[in-house]
Amino acid sequence: MTDVPQWLAQPENYSPPTDSDRFIDKSILSFIGLISKIKQQSGRSRDLLWVSPGFKLLFTLLYVVLMSSSRHFTFVYLMLAYIVAVLAMLPAGDIRKSLKGAVIAAVFTYVILLPAALHGSRYSVTMIPAKVFACVLSVNILSCSTRWDHIISSLKRFFFPDLFIFVFDITIKYIVMLGEFALQMLYALKLRSVGKNRSKYGSIGGVGGMLFIKSRDMSEEMYYAMECRGFTGEYRAVGKFHFTVYDGAYILLNAGFVWLFVYFQNLV
């Protein structure tokens, strides 16, 4: 039997002072939320709502522009009815997520505009929250119904430079990878946080600094790997473009909305 060292046999009464490391927990939770949101995208094999992603993106931006510039409430009503009808076609979980963001944005806008209402401007208090609600809802519908990498690859159709598409793609992939790396560092920090930490900002700054160094290393490694596989400096994005009858019908529908917008603008 080996001798127990003397320092080990001494009784120790160390009760570490309590400290709140909620900042670590909150950082961990926000990273996990972010990574899971991105990883959920690959769980979806098929996009919803039948129209190709490029047109969805283009016309969602069109809706935002048209609704923001419309000065006739009837047009906003019509667009709102249309967007709510599209929302009804999504599954329940997507409906809840889309509505949550839109309702919060609209309520926030309404609260901010209340002083204007008290001064007698009823018009903006009804119009602007309705517009905000409809715009945020349509963007959320786009996000819920289409995989993000499909949206990015559809940018090719709009003559985006291939480099942009490459950077978008890599950004999302590396958010996940660097996020997981940051998570591991945060877990390590949490495990080693015994007693009072006087330099909380320093700890988080350390995590951030390590993340930066790691991202530089990762980007260098990725570049060397691409060189080994024959990369010569030109990135060509490949997109599969099929024009279906749904796309055609969607384009006609949106042409109708543009016509309605012009019609109501001329009425005001």
Partner: protein
């Protein structure tokens, strides 16, 4: 048959709402037990069907209009408790968004159309079906159930109207709320429903039950239906046909505005001139700036979408809380 605000005294409204609270509670419990969460969106489809049926106004004798409700239809396809919930939610959307039916009178409207109508209709249907166990027997059951469901509901509404001048008058003897007593309200409401609105309800119920049985029979019964495309086709068709409901001009009995009632009764009851004034977002299913037909169709689309969303969310929320309960 939608009772507007200020036609019933606040105490009547409170009594009717109190009567509905146990009905809603029991319906919610039964629906949670008997209808799986995957089937909840289907309740939304039925609520949307009922909403659309209520938009088809038919002209009634006496210059007023009425409409079918579809409560017995839902009761036959999904049970009376599900019908109570579906029609109540449809009535809620109509009252809040379109101003069809009063806010204070919501309890009374639900009592008539979401409680009395489906239950009377369903139990008559069951009684007749079990007596005459044949195809003809089932058709007769549907006809009798939907007809008497609607008529008894209209009788209840007539009684609620007619009791007002008996109980609530001011010092001069003039009625505070609805000015027509039982001797007027009962014949005025029940006879047109017996003669015209009842057969319309029977027609719609019969047609839709036959259609559902033929194209999508798995919608009846507890298992969630996979292919609901045919039902959506029906809903889309009904939405396109809703402008037909605008052809029947004339206000329904008991749904007059203040000006109309002062012309009819000779005075405006005090409860109406001083009563609740709720301005809905799309009053009378019209959108300001659009022609009436377009506004009607847009209102139909919006109403159907909102009902579908509500029931999808209800089906999903139970999913979440069921998972948490485990």
């Amino acid at each position: 048959m939608h009772i507007p605000d200020n036609y019933l005294s606040p105490s009547t409204c409170a009594v009717m709402a109190a009567a509905m609270v146990p009905a809603w509670t029991v319906s919610a419990k039964k629906v949670k037990k008997e209808i799986s969460r995957a089937k909840m969106p289907q309740l939304g489809i039925y609520a949307a069907l009922s909403f659309l049926l209520m938009m088809f106004n038919v002209p009634l004798i006496g210059g007023t209009t009425g409409h079918a409700v579809g409560g017995t239809l839902i009761a036959i396809l999904m049970g009376p408790w599900a019908a109570c919930i579906s029609v109540s939610v449809a009535l809620l959307v109509q009252a809040l968004l379109f101003g069809d039916g009063g806010i204070l009178a919501f309890g009374a409207n639900c009592f008539n159309m979401a409680f009395v109508l489906p239950f009377v209709g369903y139990y008559i249907y069951k009684f007749v079906k079990e007596r005459f166990n044949s195809k003809g027997g089932e058709t007769a059951a549907i006809i009798l159930g939907s007809y008497f469901g609607l008529v008894v509901a209209s009788l209840c509404a007539a009684v609620e109207f007619g009791v007002q001048p008996l109980l609530f008058t001011d010092a001069a003897g003039q009625a505070l709320y609805c000015p027509y007593g039982l001797a007027v309200s009962i014949p005025a409401m029940v006879i047109p429903h017996l003669a015209v609105a009842g057969p319309v309800e029977v027609l719609f119920t019969l047609l839709i039950v036959t259609y559902v049985k033929k194209v999508s029979p798995e919608m009846i019964g507890p298992a969630p239906a996979k292919k609901t495309g045919a039902i959506w086709g029906l809903i889309l068709g009904l939405i396109c046909l809703t402008p037909l409901g605008l052809l029947a001009t004339g206000t329904a009995w008991g749904e007059w505005s203040r000006e109309e009632i002062s012309g009819l009764a000779g005075y405006t009851p005090q409860g109406m001139s001083d009563g609740l004034d709720y301005s809905a977002l799309l009053p009378d299913y019209s959108v300001s700036g659009l022609p009436e037909v377009a506004g009607y169709v847009v209102s139909a689309v919006l109403g159907v979408a909102i009902l579908v969303i509500i029931f999808k969310l209800l089906g999903d929320r139970r999913n979440g809380s069921a998972a948490q309960a485990k």
